[in-house]
Symmetry: C2
Amino acid sequence: MAGGDELKLLGAFPSAYVTRVELALGFKGLSYEYVKEDLANKSELLLSSNPVHKKVPVLIHNGKPISESQVILEYIDEAFTGASLLTRDPYERAVARFWVAYIDDKLKVTIFWNGGVHYIMVPNDTRKDEGGEGGGVEADVRGGRALKDSSKGKPFFGGDTVGLVDITLGSLIAWMKATEVLTGAKIFDPAKTPLLAAWTERFAELDTTKKVLPDVAGYVEYVNKRRQTQAATAAVVASNS
Amino acid sequence: MAGGDELKLLGAFPSAYVTRVELALGFKGLSYEYVKEDLANKSELLLSSNPVHKKVPVLIHNGKPISESQVILEYIDEAFTGASLLTRDPYERAVARFWVAYIDDKLKVTIFWNGGVHYIMVPNDTRKDEGGEGGGVEADVRGGRALKDSSKGKPFFGGDTVGLVDITLGSLIAWMKATEVLTGAKIFDPAKTPLLAAWTERFAELDTTKKVLPDVAGYVEYVNKRRQTQAATAAVVASNS
């Protein structure tokens, strides 16, 4: 990064999309200022930087705002030198973008702010999976197509180093682990999905990941607090009616 | 394109996503073989080329398949010389990708195959537009942000020539016009959205667009036929019960 570059990231807990951008900046070796947004009271800077969606993450590079996490990731890769998040080969780039879209489409971690707090994992979105083979991300990612074909036996989807697919999937690790704690479901089961489980451990152990990835306990606490608030509000509403 | 290159496009009427790829191939000056798929009886080639989604469009370049329309568009731009669909400047690329995602997210033309045929235009998806200013695509695209900021007074979103945003939005023109015919709604109202209406005419008049864009009457006929079939099926079911 040139000496005069200024990078500002507008973010908020617990957005995995923000985590994604932080991972990309970290693996790219870029330093930046993290500006924490209060989503209940959005800053003038956020509203003017992302007037269409008014959402985090927004990356501001020398005063110019970029929104939408995947757009930001490609921008980071194209605007700065350093480790490449996408290879040069057009076909390999297409394969990586395919899996990024797949993860974004199928692996959703959604929190509804109204009417209760839920953590929702949709590893196999059957609505959109008509005619699919079932098994969703696990079957597809683990089942050899992505890991074997796209990483060709190498440690990461990006090959020997972390790439766009690793970052996109990796940004969800803390949420998935929190979901395991909260539901008792086993998402990373080495018996069922050994390659994916091994990849997860490998990715989680990287220095950048350790610095960036939110604490699982923090997510769990966050969800439990939201539940209590909702329950308390519901009780007040009930006693008033 | 090098002499030995073989390009095959697996497509089907009436997919606007297929139209999108045809527009990109056309503006890039590439020749290709169009392989028409019967979606009720998908070919072995489609199933093996896109095993995850089993959907058109699939572009097969020298035997290698690429799926997902936006992934295909970026691939076409990166793998072949000729007119650029994205500029070199990383920031302008990010702005274009932002609007592509916006159009994909907000401007949906969906046909439900079960329980009746509908053509659904969601120019302002309020579900996802929380806190937005309303007015959706028209307000945003026409309202100066995209056309003025991103095309800077030039004839196309891509500048002097057609780019990714033009192709993505342009692939929907025939569906939008068919929707006008079928519903009586005025989507391209020069009084309300003069810039967008002017862009539509400009884009529709290009040689490539004329060759590629499906006939509006064909879409209308298609929807009406599906309605009749559904009505007939419903009548048979009713008379049998």
